[in-house]
């Protein structure tokens, strides 16, 4: 199922679509303030992009572009990022998740705006990593010696 797809049409079209999937996923995460979407939907789009790469590319090439540990790494990094943003205001004496108390010399509303962006990126990383890990574990379950 994963590895080089036998049909050249599928490989070529997939390779053409791939960069646009990643650009769109990033856009959805970054544009959550203004349109539908956000970290959750964008993370799924990015993960589906890597799944597409896994399905059409040579196994070695796919693993070099997107290492097998990528999902776990993204999952852990995103979770730590979210927890850091959550706890940081407590350190400066405010309440949990009060982005207005984040360090930085901007207006309170601007800090909350940036806090939302960080949270969207963190949620995106967790969803991306979680979904990719599920796919990788399921698709490689039979391969391991």
């Amino acid at each position: 199922m994963i590895g080089r797809h036998p049909s050249e049409n599928v490989r070529v079209v997939g390779a053409l679509v791939l960069p646009f999937v990643f650009v769109f996923g990033t856009y959805v995460i970054a544009h959550g303030h203004y349109g539908p979407g956000g970290g959750f939907a964008g993370g799924v789009v990015l993960a589906v992009g890597v799944v597409l790469a896994r399905v059409i590319l040579d196994r070695d090439v796919g693993d070099r572009r997107f290492p097998p540990g990528l999902g776990i790494a993204a999952m852990g990094t995103g979770m730590l990022l979210f927890l850091a943003v959550a706890v940081l205001p407590v350190v400066t004496g405010a309440e949990l998740l009060d982005y207005a108390a984040l360090p930085g010399d901007a207006s309170a509303s601007r800090l909350r705006y940036l806090g939302i962006l960080v949270v969207e990126v963190a949620v995106g990383a967790v969803v991306f990593g979680g979904i990719l890990t599920l796919f990788d574990q399921l698709s490689r379950a039979g391969d391991r010696p």
């Binding site: 203004y34 979210f82 949620v123 599920l134 574990q137």
Partner: protein, 176 residues
């Protein structure tokens, strides 16, 4: 949005749901369920919930199908045999639970009703203040990631924990 469009979508939903039960191949079931998810996403869009529709479209109709297809690789495409007892027991159960749910919907406020209890409390304040408080025009994002970000933190922890649990189970199965 016009009620005709929603009626067409609801009919398509029922048809795809019946189709998913009737088709004999598991791969075909996955495809029909993906179509079902897509129609649900369209219905959410028609009802004015593009954020929910987006997640339903990418997750329900794109990724879940892929995941099930990968899982089918290790179980095979054979559908389970039909069990007549399941139909005898299942049909009344579906009718009773479905009827109770339909009965429950008659007591819900109309969609878009500004006097509904859900719109009386905090949600009005969110709509009025989100732009000034957070410079975020999309109120849904402001609520999810700012006002109610504790909920989002909890949900993210749930996703994280579920993924780790699945990882542990699958990893153990594949090495034993």
């Amino acid at each position: 949005m016009s009620w005709e469009l929603e009626a067409v979508l609801l009919v398509l939903l029922v048809l795809t749901a019946i189709g998913a039960v009737l088709v004999r191949s598991m791969v075909a079931t996955v495809a029909v369920l993906a179509a079902f998810s897509l129609f649900v996403a369209l219905l959410f869009t028609a009802m004015g919930a593009p954020d929910v529709a987006f997640v339903e479209a990418v997750l329900g109709s794109a990724f879940v199908g892929v995941l099930v297809l990968v899982a089918l690789r290790s179980t095979g495409d054979r559908p389970a045999g039909r069990d007549r007892r399941a139909a005898v027991l299942g049909l009344p159960l579906v009718l009773v639970i479905g009827g109770a749910l339909f009965y429950g919907t008659t007591d819900l406020p109309a969609r878009g009703d500004t006097e509904a209890p859900a719109h009386a409390g905090a949600s009005r304040a969110y709509v009025e203040r989100a732009l000034d408080d957070t410079e975020t025009p999309n109120v849904v994002t402001a609520v999810l990631a700012d006002y109610r970000s504790l909920d989002t933190l909890g949900e993210t922890l749930v996703i994280f924990t579920a993924a780790v649990a699945a990882l542990v189970i699958l990893f153990r199965r594949s090495t034993s």
